[in-house]
């Protein structure tokens, strides 16, 4: 390799001698630097933003959920309350699974809240233990209702008021079918940060909810041990659960559409910014071709003195590598440093009412940087191979003749 380095390094230095070659090699190295820096920065911004979004999503979505269609469980329709509950069996199975830290049973139903005048249609969420993590209230279960602010406002409810919860499923009474109802106090009022406030559920203790809405949709939300893999546990649970009875969904599956959009967004941004690198690679090809044509006679002399064509090709490959590694290395490092700086000192701020945080977060991921560098290497290697190929096809006599004319 001594010879190849010897020549390539000297030719690298001599790229400053000719104005055109200097312009092209500067464009190459500069373009690669700008391209990789921009890519690293763009991916870091995207990762920072997506990271926040996913964290938020993880707070609102259980790692794993097991859904049962309440009334639609085969064979369960019409059964009385005394029958063994299939939900309990599943909950026990889930709780006994390795890596599952907790199981919470939930019930979804549509019902009404009724004050003295008229009923309001509401989403009802039956819960056990504590309110689910995505309902922004702190603390233990309350014996009464936890009402979203949208419902409280419409109905003029305040904490302490008593209100009637009405189920669409009638109960048989001596005076004929009557709606099932429960009178419960309003214990808490919460404000969700969601856009669709109308869908915010009224939280009812599970016991009351099951009694009122026996045919609601049942769901088990599993919390996992920190290091547990949702996909793996999901697969395990699927083996033990009849798919006709219940469906196991990981948070990835539950948010498939969103995750797809996030990936798509990343791919599009990547492709768009990678165009800079593609253009810089063309500049590299042009620069190498220019160096080669300006050194044609010299390469001919080297060939005449017995330098094998593959080694002459390697000289120009190395020259291409020197031009690209400098630019890409500098650009990648600069991009990562800038992203870290922008994140650490929260340089770019956003209005706090449109975004979860009031600054643009950046997250430099090792894999992202690696992908950027690999892409750069692939692009420039292709350009360098194309540019250097001519060096090995050179005929020494023709090449030396070209110097004289």
């Amino acid at each position: 390799m001594g010879f190849v380095w010897h020549i390539a390094v000297r030719y690298f230095r001599s790229t400053r001698a000719d104005a055109h070659i200097r312009a092209l090699s500067t464009l190459t190295a500069g373009g690669l630097a700008v391209g990789t820096a921009a890519l690293v920065l763009a991916l870091a911004a995207l990762a920072g933003f997506q990271n926040l979004l996913l964290e938020d999503l993880a707070r609102h979505t259980p790692a794993l959920q097991i859904e049962l269609g309440g009334g639609s469980i085969p064979g369960s329709a019409g059964r009385g309350a005394g029958m063994t509950d299939p939900v309990r069996g599943l909950a026990d199975l889930a709780a006994a699974t390795n890596g599952v830290a907790g199981v919470q049973e939930l019930l979804y139903a549509r019902g009404w809240l009724a004050d003295d005048d008229r009923p309001f249609a509401v989403e009802v969420l039956g819960y056990e233990k504590t309110p689910p993590p995505w309902i922004p209230v702190q603390g233990e279960a309350t014996p009464g209702l936890i009402v979203p602010v949208s419902v409280a406002l419409r109905m003029g409810l305040a904490v302490g008021d008593r209100v009637r919860v009405v189920s669409p499923r009638p109960g048989l009474t001596p005076v004929g079918p009557q709606p099932r109802t429960r009178m419960l106090p309003v214990d808490l009022i919460y404000r969700s940060d969601r856009a669709e406030e109308a869908d915010d559920p009224v939280l009812v203790p599970l016991e009351q909810a099951s009694a009122l809405f026996a045919r609601g949709d049942r769901r088990l939300d599993l919390t996992l041990a920190p290091e547990a893999d949702p996909e793996q546990i999901g697969d395990f649970l699927r083996q033990g659960i009849d798919p006709a009875v219940a469906r196991v969904t990981t948070w990835r599956e539950a948010n498939r559409a969103l995750l797809f959009v996030l990936r798509l967004e990343k791919g599009l941004v990547f492709s768009a910014v990678a165009l800079i690198i593609a253009v810089a690679s063309f500049a590299l090809l042009a620069a190498l071709s220019m160096v080669l044509s300006s050194k044609r006679a010299e390469v001919g002399v080297l060939a005449a003195m017995g330098a094998p064509p593959p080694r002459l090709q390697r000289v120009f490959l190395l020259l291409g590598a020197l031009l690209s590694v400098g630019g890409a290395g500098f650009g990648g490092a600069a991009g990562a440093a800038l992203a870290t700086f922008l994140d650490r000192y929260r340089v770019i701020s956003t209005p706090s009412d449109v975004y979860v945080v009031d600054y643009v977060p950046f997250l430099v991921r090792g894999t992202d940087v690696l992908v950027v560098l690999v892409v750069t290497v692939l692009f420039t290697a292709a350009a360098a191979v194309l540019g250097a190929r001519k060096a090995s096809l050179l005929h020494p006599v023709e090449a030396m003749r070209s110097a004289r004319t």
Partner: protein
């Protein structure tokens, strides 16, 4: 040392086919110096390139230093040129990005010789041609005669069996030309190198043991004493 027989070479120049060599026979023995003379365009460089394994003849056989050039693969020929041949061109063809010393060392670097002994050898050669103090100079800082002397050092650095020189003085004034020839002669004698030299200068040819005239695509021996 050099044996060529029935060498032909034609160039296709657009629609025209130019037969440059029409059956050239040549024999030069070890240590001998042969001058090839002839009018411009008669094919002297073409013949020298064929002898130097830089170009292949259309027909005929060429043996140099025991190697059949027409039967060897290109990669083998590259190694052969590096090991056994030294080239001096009409235009010095030094590499402008390298110093005089580095230029002289270049064939050795191609061969992968250790740099230190190579540098010592190059210094010795530069000393012999009187350019020891110009070792660090770049070609553009040197005169035409100095460049050609350095080119000779480069051709001889690996002590080749055969030295091929294509009008080595063609670009020099007569005094520098004289110096260069003197030098070639001294260095040749020291190592018993076989030399083939192309020239159109009768004065130059006169100094050689054998003078060959290339004309009409054929090589004829001419008496050096009676030009």
């Amino acid at each position: 040392m050099i044996a060529a027989s029935g060498v032909t070479k034609a160039y296709q120049d657009g629609a025209v086919r130019r037969q440059v060599l029409r059956g050239v026979d040549l024999e030069v023995s070890r240590g001998e110096t042969a001058a090839i003379v002839g009018p411009s365009g008669s094919g002297k460089s073409t013949l020298l390139n064929i002898l130097g394994a830089l170009d292949a003849p259309d027909a005929g056989s060429v043996r140099v230093d025991g190697v059949d050039l027409t039967a060897s693969r290109p990669s083998a020929l590259a190694g052969f040129r590096n090991r056994s041949l030294g080239f001096v061109f009409q235009f010095h063809q030094l590499l402008p990005d390298f110093t005089a010393l580095e230029n002289v060392m270049m064939p050795g670097r191609i061969a992968g010789r250790p740099t230190s002994s190579l540098a010592a050898r190059a210094h010795t050669l530069l000393d012999q041609v009187g350019l020891a103090d110009r070792a660090g100079a770049f070609p553009q800082q040197l005169s035409g005669g100095e460049r050609q002397r350095i080119a000779i050092c480069r051709a001889l650095v690996l002590e080749p069996a055969v030295l091929l020189a294509d009008e080595p003085t063609g670009n020099l004034d007569s005094r520098s030309g004289e110096e260069v020839l003197e030098l070639l002669d001294t260095l040749r004698k020291r190592r018993d190198t076989t030399v083939v030299l192309v020239t159109h200068n009768p004065e130059v040819a006169k100094r050689c043991g054998m003078v060959l005239r290339l004309d009409g695509g054929r090589l004829t021996r001419s008496c050096p004493q009676s030009p």
